[in-house]
Amino acid sequence: MENIISIFVKSVFIDNMIFAFFLGMCSFIAVSKTVKTAVGLGIAVIFVLGITLPVNYLLNKYLLTPGCLAWISPGLADVDLSFLSFIIFIAVIASITQLVEMVVEKFAPALYSSLGIFLPLIAVNCAILGGSLFMQERGYANLGEAVSFALGSGTGWFLAIVGIAAIREKLKYSNVPAPLRGVGITFIITGLMGIAFMCFMGIKL
């Protein structure tokens, strides 16, 4: 249990998807103009990460890791399918986002109208695929740890996008040099926020 909490805190603050790995930057810059849309996208990311990462974890454990097919029959023990992981992960993510979109549209129209345009965007959000690839690389021990990592990274991403959206809303009132306006200053502010987040680095949990 302790381990699960520490993985959560670590993935929110220390290994923050945006500030430590720059994952999901494209939608981070494009959809952070107002706090309201940023909150919508942030929630959608937590949601999709929370579903796809555990699914990919199970697929990785029972299908892709070298030698893991032994549970079907001992003859398959030396089959290595790990080269298929990219294609399987992305297929899972793309189909789950499409599935989630349909389910939400059917059963929660209000949520759909606020998340609607963001769900298809998420299929190509690097943070989602990045989460699955980091999960594979770090080799989490059980499903609980994988879920906690998924929710933690999602929350970290949510915090980052809401933070930058709030700053950009205020930024409208400041006199930024013309060529730097818009995207340029957003990059620099993200960099400064990243430096601030680095104060969490080196904390041992």
Binding site: L129, F187, G194
Partner: protein, 215 residues
Amino acid sequence: MEKEPMFSAKILKLFTDPINKGNPITVLILGICSALAVTVKLEPALVMAVSVTIVTGFASFIVSILRNTIPNRIRIIVQLVVVAALVILVDQILRAYAYDVSKQLSVFVGLIITNCIIMGRIEAFALGNKPWPSLVDGLGNGAGYGLILVIVAFFRELLGSGTVLGFQVVPESWYMKNGGFYENNGLMILPPMALIIVGLIIWIQRSFNKQLIEK
């Protein structure tokens, strides 16, 4: 219908436009995710630039061939599968011939799949154009991406480690520890500096191209 020559001015423009005025990173803001994390050293950045250029070009090419047979509703999955297959090829080749670099790039080779440049060019260009212009457009966008990557990596490696492509550029005798006056800027190696350098590149580029300035 009149047949267009292979290398007409229009085709050439498809290639050169993304390098400056339609640059995917600094103007369209696509593909930043992977761009920043691999730019600490020049060598992985070069490998990444070449890989992305190849994948973007061929993904556009293949999707453009298939464009009339893909049903609209499931096109994103089809596109992703095409891209993923190409990325697996690149990953396996890197592991076979450049193992050290492939270790340094770690998950970022896989993340080429979700690089927005590739999906963006497929959606915006390859779905509505013939294979040959799509290939050129893909390669051009890959090159524009690679250019920014290489510029950022060059400055980060030079200022952060005093080397270029692993060769010592700043003379050893300049360093403090050898009695000189110079010290590497450790901040350059840290991830946030990549963002700030891209911000500065955007600043410089837009001061020369006034029409790119946002209101």
